[in-house]
C-alpha cells in the first residue's frame, strides 16, 4: 500500500469507527486548535506523503505531495530560476505544502504576486467519505466543474486531506534590491498608497520601528529608475522579508499577545508601534485592538509554550450557515475535526 492508500484507509476506518481525525502537516503551525480537548481524535500526519511529482519549469507549475517540505519545494524551483509566488510562511523553518494550503497563508509579496488561493491550480483530496478525488489540474486555465482546489485553500483541513497539489510558479526576477528610509508610520502610509496606483516593480513593503523597507524586483534596468521614482535609495536589510514571513522578526518576539489586522485596500493605518506590510493591507499590533474600524478583520495570537493559540472572530451568520453546509457536503459524517468552522 502506498502512503496515499494508507491515508485513504485511515479516513475510511475512522468513519466507520466514528472516530474523528485531525490533519497535521509538520505540526509547525503556530496554533493549537480545539482538538486538544477532545477525546477519540486521531492525528493524521501527511509527513510521510512527501515528494515532488512533476516539475516542468517551462509550464510554470510544480506538483507535489502534500507532505513535501516547503523548503524542498522552494529549493527545487530556485534551482530553475523560479520562485513560489505566494511564498508561504515556514514557522521554525518547517512547514509543508499541504499545511500551507490548509492554512491559506501567503508571504510578503502577496499583494503583488498573488495569494496562495491565486496560485493553486489543482488538488487531490480525500473527502470525509474516504474517497480519493481530483479537482482542477496542472494547467493555468481550467473551468471544468466548481473550483474545489481553491475552496480547499484556508479550510484548515475541514473539507478533507489534501494528498497533492499543483501550484503556479513564476520566473525569479533577474535582480532584487531592498531599500529603506526612516519615517513616521503616517508618512509611510501616504507614500505606500501612492505607489500602489503606479506601475512600479515593488514586491514588498514593511514598516516597523520607524523604518520603511521596500523590495524592488525586476531587471536591473527596472530597479534603478524605480529607486529614483520612489525617492528612496538607502540600502536596506534584505533579510527582513524572510524574517517577517516566518514571524522570526524581533517584533514578534517582543509580545506575548499579537493581533494580525487585515485592512481594506486603501484604508489609512498609521500606528507607529505596529508592523505594517503588504502595501498597507496587513498590520500586526501588540495586544488586542481596542476598537476595530469597519471591514477590518482581526486575529489574535497568544503565546503558548513554544507555539501560539489563536482566536478568530466569528464569521457572519448567513455565511457561516453556508460554510457549514459546504463542510457537510465534503464530510457528511463529520470525520474531520472542524478547525475550519470556528
Amino acid at each position: 500500500m502506498d502512503s496515499a492508500e494508507e491515508l485513504v484507509a485511515m479516513v475510511a476506518d475512522c468513519r466507520v469507527a466514528e472516530r474523528r481525525i485531525a490533519i497535521m502537516g509538520h505540526g509547525s503551525k503556530p496554533r493549537r486548535v480545539a482538538w486538544g480537548h477532545e477525546t477519540g481524535v486521531e492525528e493524521l500526519s501527511t509527513r510521510a506523503h512527501s515528494g515532488i511529482l512533476e516539475y516542468r519549469p517551462e509550464e510554470l507549475v510544480i506538483t507535489a505531495q502534500s507532505g513535501t517540505p516547503l523548503a524542498e519545494l522552494a529549493d527545487a524551483v530556485a534551482a530553475q530560476g523560479q520562485l513560489l509566488p505566494f511564498d508561504p510562511p515556514r514557522f521554525g523553518g518547517e512547514g509543508t505544502l499541504g499545511g500551507a494550503i490548509a492554512s491559506g497563508l501567503s508571504g510578503p509579496a502577496r499583494p503583488w504576486r498573488g495569494s496562495i488561493h491565486d496560485a493553486v491550480l489543482g488538488v487531490e483530496l480525500i473527502n470525509g467519505l474516504g474517497e480519493r478525488l481530483r479537482f482542477g489540474g496542472s494547467v493555468m486555465k481550467n473551468v471544468a466543474g466548481y473550483d474545489v482546489s481553491r475552496l480547499v485553500v484556508g479550510s484548515l483541513g475541514s473539507l478533507g486531506v489534501v494528498l497533492s497539489a499543483s501550484v503556479r510558479v513564476l520566473p525569479a526576477p533577474a535582480a532584487e534590491e531592498t531599500v529603506c528610509t526612516r519615517c513616521s508610520a503616517s508618512e509611510a502610509d501616504v507614500r505606500v498608497r501612492c505607489w500602489a496606483r503606479r506601475p512600479l516593480p515593488i514586491t514588498g513593503t514593511c514598516y516597523v520601528d520607524g523604518t520603511l523597507s521596500i523590495r524592488l524586483s525586476g531587471g536591473p534596468a527596472a530597479i534603478e529608475p524605480a529607486k529614483v521614482d520612489i525617492a528612496v535609495d538607502e540600502s536596506g536589510d534584505a533579510g527582513i522579508w524572510e524574517a517577517v514571513r516566518d514571524r522570526a522578526h524581533p517584533f514578534f518576539g517582543r509580545n506575548d499577545v499579537i493581533t494580525r489586522l487585515s485592512l481594506p485596500r486603501g484604508a489609512r493605518f498609521d500606528d507607529d508601534d505596529a508592523l505594517i506590510e503588504w502595501g498597507g493591507t496587513q498590520a500586526w499590533i501588540a495586544g488586542e485592538p481596542r476598537s476595530l474600524a469597519a471591514n477590518v478583520y482581526a486575529e489574535t495570537f497568544r503565546r503558548d509554550g513554544d507555539g501560539w493559540t489563536t482566536s478568530r472572530p466569528p464569521v457572519d451568520g448567513t455565511v457561516a450557515k453556508y460554510v457549514e453546509r459546504v463542510r457537510h457536503a465534503f464530510d457528511p459524517d463529520g470525520v474531520f475535526v472542524g478547525a475550519g468552522s470556528g
Partner: protein
C-alpha cells in the same frame, strides 16, 4: 400556486416592461452565444434593483419555478440557455457603478455592466480592469464571474478569479451572502471561490468588487512568423523558460492567418504556417530589454520577426487577431469553437493531432488561441445545411477534447461547461468527483432550481454514455449525439 399567479406576482414586483412573456418577444433570449441550442423561456424578468432580484427569487421559490440567470448572453457553452418552464433572470438593466475607490484601486459595480465599461470608467484615473475576454464590449461582469472568464492578457494578469475581491450573492433560498471585500484576507473556508466559475448554479451575483491595476506605461508587440506549427508551439515554452511573462502570447495557424488577412488586412504573412503575437508591457526600460530577448528566442527558432513599438502599428498587428472570429464567418457558413487547455509543452504535438483528426473527419479546423496559457480554441468549420456536418463537427469536437484530457489538460479553459460539455465532463471526472460536485451544488441550492441541468452531468447521463473517466482513450461512443 397557479402559473398565472406566479406571473402576476412577478409583474407586480418588477418595473413596467420588466416582465416579458409574449412568445415572440422572448425570442431574442432563446439562446446565448452557443446558437445551436435554443429554447424559449417561459418568462424573462428584467429587474433593476437587488430588491427586485430578491423578489423574483422569492416568488419563484414559492411557486417552485426554476431560475436561469443571464448576463449579456455571450456565453459559448449554453450556460444561460433558458428553460421552457423557467424564469430567465436577465441582469442587463443593473449596470451601474456603485463606487470607484481610487485609493484602494477597486471598483464596485452591478452585475450587468459590461467588462469594457469598467475599464473605460476608471481610465481617467490611470487604472484598468485586467481580464479582457474578446467579447468585452458586450459580456457582463456577472457573466465573467460565473464563467471565471479569461482573455488575451491572463498569462500575466490572471483570470477573473485573480481580479475579483468581493461579491454579493443572492441564493434561491433567499439568503444574501456578502463575500470578500476590498482585499481583506480572512481565514477559513472562503465561499468566494465556490461562486467564481460556478456558472450560475449556486446563486445570483448582484454586486462585484474588482481589483484595478495601474495602466502600463509602455507596451511592445512582436510578431513571429514560423514555417511549422510545431516550432511556433515550442517557441511559446522557450519564451517562458527565458523568465519572461508576456502580457499576451497568442498564436494563429495558417487557415486562421489567411482568413484574418482577407478580412482585416493586418499585414500578416499569408504563407506562414503559424504566427505568434507577443505583447510585453511594463516600465520602458524593462520592456526594451524583454523585447530584445523575445526577438532572439523567436529568431533562434527560425521565425521572421516584425516588431511594433508605437501604438498605431501595435493596433494594426492586433487587428487580425481580434477579427479572427468574425473572419471565420466569411470562409465557412458555421464554426464550432472548442476551448480545451493543455500543458504548453504539448502544444506542438496536440496541434499536429488536431490536424490529423480534422482530416479523418473531412472537416477544416482553424486555430487561433491563447498560446501562453495553453488554451486552445480550435474552430471547426462546417456547414449546418449539409446533412450530417453538424454531427461530424460535434464528434470531431469530442475527439479534440479527449485529446486535451489525455495530454493532461482540461475540456474547458474559459468558456465553461454549460450544456455543451456535459458529456466531456464524464470523461474528465469520475463518479465520486461528480457526486461531490452535486453535493456542493446542493449546499447552496438544496431545491436544485438554480440553472438546473447545467455544468455537471448526472451520473445517469455518464453511465448511459457507456463508461466514464476514460483517461487515455477516446470517448466511448463518438458516434452518439452530444446534446
Amino acid at each position: 400556486m397557479s402559473d398565472t399567479g406566479v406571473l402576476d406576482r412577478l409583474r407586480a414586483a418588477l418595473p413596467a416592461q420588466g416582465l416579458i412573456t409574449d412568445r415572440q418577444a422572448v425570442r431574442p433570449f432563446e439562446t446565448d452565444g452557443l446558437t445551436a441550442i435554443r429554447e424559449r423561456p417561459w418568462a424573462v424578468a428584467l429587474p433593476e434593483t437587488v430588491d427586485q432580484v430578491r423578489a423574483v427569487l422569492r416568488i419563484c421559490r414559492e411557486g417552485e419555478v426554476p431560475v436561469v440567470t443571464r448576463g449579456a448572453g455571450t456565453g459559448l457553452s449554453g450556460g444561460a440557455r433558458p428553460l421552457k418552464d423557467g424564469v430567465l433572470l436577465t441582469l442587463t438593466k443593473m449596470r451601474g457603478i456603485k463606487e470607484i475607490d481610487v485609493d484602494a484601486c477597486t471598483a464596485t459595480v452591478e452585475p450587468g455592466i459590461t467588462n469594457l465599461a469598467i475599464s473605460q470608467a476608471v481610465a481617467e484615473h490611470g487604472l484598468f480592469y485586467a481580464p479582457d475576454p474578446s467579447s468585452q464590449i458586450a459580456c457582463s461582469i456577472g457573466g465573467n464571474v460565473a464563467e471565471n472568464s479569461g482573455g488575451v492578457h491572463c498569462l500575466k494578469y490572471g483570470l477573473t478569479v485573480h481580479n475579483v475581491l468581493g461579491l454579493r450573492v443572492e441564493t434561491y433560498e433567499g439568503d444574501e451572502l456578502v463575500l470578500g471585500g476590498k482585499g481583506v484576507d480572512v481565514l477559513g473556508v472562503d465561499l468566494l471561490y465556490a461562486i467564481i466559475g460556478s456558472e450560475g448554479m449556486l446563486g445570483v451575483v448582484t454586486e462585484v468588487t474588482v481589483k484595478l491595476l495601474p495602466l502600463p506605461v509602455c507596451k511592445h508587440v512582436l510578431l513571429g512568423a514560423f514555417d511549422t506549427v510545431e516550432t511556433a508551439g515550442d517557441a511559446v515554452g522557450a519564451i517562458i523558460a527565458e523568465g519572461i511573462v508576456p502580457a499576451g502570447l497568442e498564436m494563429m495557424d495558417n487557415p486562421a492567418i489567411r482568413a484574418a488577412e482577407d478580412f482585416a488586412n493586418a499585414g500578416y504573412p499569408r504563407d506562414a504556417a503559424a504566427i505568434l503575437l507577443c505583447e510585453l508591457d511594463g516600465t520602458e526600460a524593462q520592456v526594451a530589454t524583454d523585447a530584445l530577448r523575445v526577438r532572439e528566442v523567436l529568431e533562434s527558432r527560425g521565425a521572421e520577426v516584425t516588431s511594433a513599438a508605437d501604438a498605431a502599428t501595435q493596433e494594426q498587428l492586433w487587428k487580425g487577431r481580434k477579427s479572427a472570429f468574425p473572419a471565420m464567418g466569411r470562409i465557412a457558413p458555421d464554426y464550432y469553437c472548442m476551448d480545451g487547455t493543455i500543458p504548453r509543452g504539448e502544444l506542438g504535438r496536440v496541434l499536429g493531432d488536431i490536424g490529423r483528426l480534422a482530416d479523418e473527419y473531412g472537416l477544416r479546423v482553424a486555430n487561433v488561441f491563447h498560446a501562453g496559457d495553453g488554451n486552445l480554441h480550435p474552430l471547426i468549420l462546417f456547414d449546418a445545411n449539409q446533412p450530417g456536418e453538424l454531427e461530424r463537427a460535434e464528434a470531431l469536437g469530442g475527439r479534440i477534447l479527449s485529446r486535451c484530457v489525455q495530454a493532461g489538460g482540461t475540456v474547458t479553459g474559459e468558456h465553461g461547461v454549460g450544456v455543451e460539455k456535459l458529456d466531456a465532463m464524464c470523461e474528465q471526472f469520475d463518479a465520486a468527483e461528480l457526486a461531490q460536485f452535486h453535493r456542493l451544488k446542493a449546499a447552496f441550492d438544496p431545491a436544485g432550481r438554480m440553472n438546473p441541468g447545467k455544468a455537471i452531468p448526472t451520473l445517469a447521463r455518464c453511465s448511459e454514455l457507456g463508461g466514464m473517466h476514460v483517461h487515455a482513450g477516446k470517448l466511448p461512443h463518438p458516434e452518439l449525439e452530444r446534446f
